[in-house]
């Protein structure tokens, strides 16, 4: 099992979102409760934002 950091709250539904110790700034994670995409704004301290909406020119 992966070690986890203190779990920040989902900005939408307040559920705890546990982040692994390998979490990175700008990483996209999913809220286990509301399934929204969240962006890790900061790791120390752990802080989450709603991830930006997909834009028309996104892709590979």
């Amino acid at each position: 099992m992966q070690e986890t950091l203190v779990a920040p709250e989902c900005p939408e539904c307040d559920a705890e979102v546990s982040l692994g110790t390998d979490a990175r700034v700008s990483e996209i994670v999913e809220c286990p409760e509301c399934r929204l995409e969240l962006e890790i704004e900061s790791v120390e301290p752990p802080r989450l934002l709603l991830a930006p909406e997909v834009e028309e020119d996104w892709g590979e």
């Binding site: 390998d22 990175r24 700008s26 990483e27 028309e56 996104w58 892709g59 590979e60």
Partner: protein, 287 residues
């Protein structure tokens, strides 16, 4: 790791599986790397930049990726892939034109400069055909047209769109039997892995739930993929190939900021895609 090695950066506003694994691979190699968020980036023309001298472009948005690459290059930074490669890969017509100029096989394509001209072109090309937006990926707004009535409806819709670019219509003959495509990952002029991608949907994008399975790296396939990546000037590329009914391979597109989660899961521990890219970046920094 020589002390004179250039500083490395990874440009990404969205750290996904791919970016996270590349950053981790660089750390495992003991290479310092700066994460650059293009949302906070501005570059003054003609002024040296104090950031990394070598930057891997992993920005998910095409325009942000393209202009970030161009701006960084203007500040003397080496960007992988180059702004020129991103410009060609990000535009379906420029890709087709480059492949054709190089003499590489690619599905028969016509560029029509108005929706009206596109209808005439479709009548000549025959149905079914595919209308694609010039810029865009993940198969968005790619439309398969099976007859004239449908083509008229789609083109009427395009004509009503406000963007002048939407009125330039990219039309391609549908490759028969293309229920799967082949994604070849090319890194530093070498094909490192390939997968078949199958889908119920005729667009075989992994983003649309296509299933991938490993595809042997046969010589014909690797040569074509490497040539396609070279044609567009991409040192990291996901080259999409289709098999025509007779078995002939044809190049569909070249992706410059390639997603490789599907390919990586297909290969498991037999290939570390992120580390292969990290190795290329490290080599550039030391050269």
């Amino acid at each position: 790791m020589s002390s004179a090695a250039a500083r490395l950066g990874v440009l990404a506003s969205r750290v996904r599986f791919e970016e996270k694994n590349i950053l981790t691979a660089l750390e495992r190699r003991g290479v310092a790397c700066e994460q650059i968020d293009p949302r906070a980036l501005s570059v003054r023309a003609g002024t040296p930049w104090d950031g990394p001298q070598i930057v891997l472009n992993r920005e998910v948005g095409h325009y942000r990726a393209l202009y970030a690459a161009s701006a960084l290059e203007s500040a003397g930074v080496t960007v992988l892939n180059s702004a020129a490669a991103t410009a060609v890969c990000g535009d379906k017509w420029q890709t087709s034109a480059a492949l054709v100029a190089r003499g590489l096989p690619t599905p028969e394509t016509t560029l029509a400069l108005t929706p009206d001209a596109a209808l005439k072109a479709l009548e000549e090309l025959g149905y079914p055909a595919v209308i694609k937006p010039l810029v865009g990926s993940w198969g968005r707004l790619v439309t398969r047209v099976t007859d004239r009535a449908m083509a008229e409806a789609v083109l009427e819709h395009l004509a009503a769109l406000p963007s002048p670019q939407s009125h330039i219509v990219y039309v391609q003959r549908e490759v028969a039997k293309a229920d799967r495509d082949i994604r070849v990952l090319v890194v530093g002029g070498r094909a490192v892995g390939a997968t078949y991608r199958r889908s119920e949907d005729w667009r075989t994008n992994v983003a649309r739930g296509a299933v991938s399975e490993r595809c042997p790296l046969e010589a014909d396939l690797t040569e074509l993929a490497v040539a396609a990546a070279d044609t567009v000037g991409a040192c990291v590329a996901g080259v999409d190939l289709l098999e025509e009914p007779g078995g002939r391979l044809t190049v569909l597109e070249v992706n410059d900021r390639v997603e490789f989660r599907g390919l990586q899961s297909t290969y498991g521990s037999d290939l570390d895609v992120a580390d292969t890219i990290a190795a290329l970046l490290t080599a550039k920094a030391e050269s």
